[in-house]
């Protein structure tokens, strides 16, 4: 059997983590190629629904990374993000989503090494978990429950 190749998404902020990822590149630090980056201006931009949509499109895992707390380019965006995830994380768990498939990190523009290490850890973790086949069964449950997954702040 061929080795499982996860499909994953990383939502990363333009100022810290994206620049950190670029630094990993200029420093030629190798990491697995099994995730795709979507650049957002700030982690504060990330609507909880993006994550649901990501899983719906077949992602095996989703990684969110931004500036360290206190270092946000937009002053406070990552505080909102952090608060949103702490609430949303519980909500996802309640709905039956495997939260091991979600990863949150703070990576600064100078942390190229950290980016490469976290990327490796993320992909390794997803390889261990295997394909996310259960998600399709969760969606009807979510719809039944009538839970709102957006704008929870």
């Amino acid at each position: 059997m061929a080795e499982f190749k996860p499909k994953a998404i990383a939502f990363i902020c333009n100022w810290c983590t994206y620049t950190g990822a670029d630094l990993a590149g200029t420093s030629r630090m190798e990491y697995p190629a099994d995730f795709r980056i979507i650049k957002v201006p700030c982690t504060g931009r990330i609507d909880a629904e993006f994550i649901i949509k990501g899983f719906e499109q077949g992602a095996d895992g989703i990684w969110i990374s931004g500036c360290h707390i206190g270092d946000c380019h937009y002053q406070s965006g990552n505080y909102f993000a952090q608060r949103r995830w702490s609430i949303f994380h519980d909500e996802l768990e309640f709905l039956g989503i495997d939260t091991r498939r979600l990863k949150y990190t703070w990576i600064s523009a100078s942390e190229g090494r950290k980016f490469a290490d976290e990327a490796t850890e993320f992909v390794e973790r997803l390889k261990e978990l295997g394909p996310y086949e259960d998600f399709d069964q969760i969606i009807p449950k979510i719809e039944e429950s009538g839970a709102s997954v957006g704008g929870d702040g």
Binding site: K7, I9, W15, C16, Y18, T19, A21, D22, A24, G25, T26, R28, M29, E30, Y31, A33, R36, I37, I38, K39, V40, P41, C42, G44, R45, I46, D47, A48, F50, K53, G54, Q57, G58, A59, G70, D71, H73, Y74, Q75, S76, G77, F80, A81, R84, S108, A109, S110, E111, A116, G150, G151, G153
Partner: protein, 661 residues
Amino acid sequence: MARIGVFICHCGENIARTVDVVSVTEVARTWPGVVYAEDYRFCCSDPGQSIIRDAIKEHNLTGLVISACSPKMHEKTFRNLAKASGMNPYLCECSNIREQCSWVHHDKEVGTEKAIDLVRMMVEKVRMNHPLEPIEAPVTKRVLVVGAGIAGIQASLDLAEAGLEVVLVERNPSIGGHMAQLSETFPTLDCSMCILSPKMSAVKEHPDIKLLTYSEVEKVEGFIGNYTVSIRKKPRYVIEDLCVGCNECVTHCVFKKPKFPDEFNEGLGKRKPVYIPFPQATPQGAFIDPETCLQLTTGKCKQTCVTACPKDCIDFEMVEEIEEVEVGAIILATGFGTYKPELLPQYGYGKLDNVYTSLQMERMLSSSGPTEGEILLKDGTAPKTVGIIHCAGSRDENANIWCSKVCCMYSLKLAHLIQEFSEAQVFNFYIDIRAAGKGYEEFYLKVIEENVMVLRGRPALIEYEEQGNNGKGNLLVHTEDTISGTKLVVPVDMVVLSLGFEPDKDAVQLAKTFNISRSPEGFFMERHVKLAPVATTTDGVYIVGGCQGPKDIPETVAQASAAAASVLGILSKDKLIREPTVARVNELNCIGCFQCEKVCPYSAIEHKEIRDHDGNLIREVALVNDSLCHGCGPCAAICPSKCIDVDGITEEQIYSQLAVL
């Protein structure tokens, strides 16, 4: 129907080595809406750009995807190219297949597969792009410079000479910074104060420079071209405009003798609570230290200074003031700290007599210093031997790992000056001599010829010996000579620790106040280490001098002038062009809950009243003020009715990228 052009750059071999650019291009040609796809060796080169220009015109493109290096590198280049070719620049996007693909993967199959995905995602995003028009914002033609050492002084003078107003803020009672403390400067041995004090006076006298000493920046709001800065002016208790520095108050202070450690002399001398920091202090006036003044600490003092002052300058009722200034750009020249010698217990600083820091030695060598230029031991006699320990706290994994760049040169300078002004023999203990700079190696050779002893090895311990060979106690430097491979014990009368640069003690707070990043070692971080060394990721905020990293005076001055030139570039325009990637509200769906207003860090959400024909208020909806919005997006994420979106990164664009995975 979209007409998208896709260009895949080889970047020489940088991308082509790990990504099969030809097959990526072939696959791209098959995607709906892609009417043209091509690969080229260097898309950013002139011939590369002309191929793109021709394609835009010939195929009447409505979207452009350049798959090359990071957008941080060339997004501007290609958007300008699009504009020059008659296309709205915001219809052009870059997909990053170098930094985030070819440089981090080695397997060509893997790299190619990922590159195809990255290009496809960007094609789907561009499909949803719509033309945007840049936003114009007014510009305040005034600059804030923080820190008045040589960096801040030079930047202020350059800007003021060019006709801009400057507000120069210094936290100490006098300007001058570290350079004012130095005796002479390498490699030319000019007297530091002699070359600095004319510039200090020029700052004080310049009609366009507003100097605020003993002041600190409290708060910064706004954005490039339009910053509002609150400055806290601490009370000097001496009216600055009246004081002429006659010294009467100091002479008549109830403390007959100076009692408190003198900060400017690095604790070597003593001062009174009322004092003039140093002879060339600017502003040239007395200052009362609230922490040591009897009147200010206890409220019980005869206030002899008040009676002695011939001009009634002393005012104990003076209070702190907050001053607000509007500026268009900010230059941070907040300087550096030095490694704390107490953290090197093996060298005995603070415990053993006659162990000094390099800055203390600078003060001792200064003709206006505590010993008036004489090199003296604690007992008042002259040393016969002096040891200078290079790299104290630098290039050491137990202390700071980095090289402070200037210590080798200033240690050699101190050695030269000590041998010139005293009878002492100097030993320099070094790891490597780093003398890179114009005239620096020559200076090193000259000092060697003067019979300064140089020993290669990091000393392990300094201890006190009761009965030395000079008939009294001396210090023993335990070290090794790594050239001959022998252990040595060198007896000396005095030790100087050449301490390296560190981030200033306020660097963390300053970085937060001005919203800039710091590098791993804690100095302020530049936008690009090579190509934007004085800019930061916050537009309109620049960093110069020791706050950015260790550097010598010529380099600091060059950076200061570089930042001044960059600021002039921004403020010479009457209007600034801002990125139009801002949030917008769909008024029809807005329920007027104003959650967005609560999360907006820039107060960019306004209330718009919707009224009927008779002028009765129906409801209020959110409205984004374009000139304040930065397009960060928490408003869009929190909006419960999904009526806010951010141009350039709409919800639709995120979903379209997800859809092709």
